[in-house]
Amino acid sequence: MDTEKVAEMYRKMLEIRLFEEKVFELYGQNLVPGTIHLYAGEEAVAVGVCSNLRKDDYIVSTHRGHGHCIAKGANLDKTMAEILGRRTGYCGGKGGSMHIADFSIGVLGATAVVGAGIPIATGAGLSIKLRGTDQVAVCFFGDGASNQGTFHEGINLAAIWKLPVIFVCENNLYAMGTRQTQVMLTKNVAERACAYGIPGVTIDGNDVLAVFQATKEAVLRARRGEGPTLVECKTYRHKGHSRFDPATYRPKEEVEEWLSKDPITRLKRQLLQEGTISNAVLAEMEKEVTESVEAAAQFAKKSSFPLPGTALEGVYV
């Protein structure tokens, strides 16, 4: 694969990781209102998928959505400002951490209602088909979301109408404290694809190149008008479900095993071993990303809060 492309994926993953670490830090300083659901550990999914997308392709995101948006090209300053509830944020402070959106780059918004994004992505696919473009729509959702009725209804509809949608299940093995095995008798979510007559693949979601490859095929298939694909990426969140979850329901050995499969260190090791990238280049990259994340935090902190009365604006067009 093209070295530059791989380096770019590495940079994006790092950007997401450092961004999330910064969010965590700011939360600790009481600068983040509400709650947060960090994407750390799952970066390879969003980056591997979005590296196949054009600016005019769509994604639909979730409560754990910072990574999806950044991978699709969201501006760090505006994302951080939204998370801090500032007027300079993407939604002017109306959305917050669980509701980042940037329609100018195809981020159709993050919904915090688990599973709600699935039919919305189907609808974006329908619009693409009706308008006759070769865009695609990607829906990110969790293992937990795949037990919602919307999963069945949304995917079936996309299947029968052969819509250009890629359903990306981020299977991090848990929905809050509920293990996937407690609530699903099949081993893989992707096995359900056969019920809709569409391809379903299960891949290592901590291997960005594997994610890239699998979604590449799904995206090409969608662009050719052959319909949707269900791509299941097995991954793991490094932290608890939300900020105050100590995640004691996860066995220690399991956590350690997954931490050792961290997608970023994994790619880094691989790149250094192959000699495709030098330590110096990586260090420079890390410096740049650290600076841009810090700049985003500064931008957000310096921004003012929205004026109270603006709460009344924008209910209707």
């Binding site: 209102p33 509400g34 917050g96 919904t111 209602v113 919602q148 929905a175 809050m176 293990r179 709460a311």
Partner: protein, 324 residues
């Protein structure tokens, strides 16, 4: 008497009713061994009663309520937990078309002894999908009872009644109420539905308030007392059935009515209460009725915005001063 939290009051009601009646069981997302409820109302219950009776479910709100309906019409008394009130939207068919109508539509052949517990309300900056107050929707659905406890005492007494009731009950809780403390008796008690509680007696103004707004209204009453204004705070405790009598007689005494609720103003809980008073006691009113409610917006995220739209002590005082 002893002092416990609203959360523990609910939990005690569940424990007592599960002990009393083997057909009572709980189902919901993350209510079991590993998380014990998003707001910890079911803490240690799975350990105590076993996972057969305290059932973790997949994230499937429609199936949670639907399964509860099916169990209820065949001899069980399920208590379903919907993690956030906003997510009852996913179960609306099962609640509105099924649970609420089965008894009537099938000519009284079956009862639906089902409780749906769910927390409403804002105030914790979790934005438009986790902060709404949707009680009025259920008032608008014949066949459902709607309970809205504001104190630990009411929470425990009403939940026990809800579980024993043979009708489907939407049991509305509030995120900000879980940690608040209050006195409850040592001995067992229940609170009948349709019986309002005068949370504070007064002579000049009646404030009808629900759930968290009861506490804001009480604060406002305290403050207004310094201005020599005597405020009566009436908490309906259940919206269906509604204790019209208590509301109307308070208004007849004070001649002034403010209704404070956290839901959207238009076609909200306050609209119904104001209409009842207009129908039954308009001649007793010395001033127009005022509704203090959410100003018909989704709940915004940023603290400055959220604070602006949710009623509080100040907005209540302002409304009172406008009419007295």
């Amino acid at each position: 008497m002893r002092e416990i939290t609203y959360r523990d009051a609910l939990r005690e009601a569940l424990i007592e009713e599960m002990q009393r009646d083997k057909t009572v069981f709980l189902l919901g997302e993350d209510i079991g061994l590993y998380w014990e409820g998003a707001f910890k109302v079911t803490k240690e219950l799975a350990k105590r009663f076993g996972v057969e009776r305290v059932r973790d479910t997949p994230i499937s709100e429609s199936a949670i309520v639907g399964a509860a309906v099916g169990a209820a019409i065949t001899g069980m008394r399920p208590v379903a937990e919907i993690m956030f009130g906003d997510l009852v939207t996913l179960a609306m068919d099962q609640i509105v078309n099924q649970a609420a109508k089965i008894h009537y539509m099938f000519g009284g052949q079956a009862n639906v002894p089902l409780v749906i517990r769910t927390p409403f309300g804002g105030g914790v900056n979790i934005a438009a999908h986790h902060s709404q107050s949707l009680e009025a929707w259920f008032m608008h659905t014949p066949g459902l009872y709607v309970a809205t406890p504001s104190t630990p005492y009411d929470a425990k007494g009403l939940l026990k009644t809800a579980i024993r009731n043979d009708n489907p009950v939407v049991f509305c809780e509030h995120k900000l109420l879980y940690p608040i403390k209050g006195l409850i008796p040592e001995e067992e008690f229940t609170i009948p539905f349709g019986s309002a509680d005068i949370k504070r007696e007064g002579a000049d103004v009646t404030i009808v308030a629900t759930m968290f707004m009861v506490h804001e209204a009480l604060k406002a009453a305290e403050t207004l007392e310094k201005d020599n204004l005597s405020v009566e705070v009436v908490d309906p405790r259940t919206l269906i059935p509604l204790d019209k009598e208590a509301i109307v007689s308070s208004v007849k005494k004070t001649g002034h009515l403010i209704v404070v609720t956290e839901d959207c103003k238009t076609a909200g809980v306050g609209a119904e209460i104001a209409a009842i008073v207009a129908e039954e006691a308009i001649d007793y009113l010395d001033a127009p009725i005022r509704r203090v409610a959410e100003p018909d917006t989704p709940i915004p995220f940023s603290p400055t915005l959220e604070k602006f739209v949710i009623p509080n002590e100040e907005s209540i005082i302002k409304a009172v001063k406008e009419i007295v």
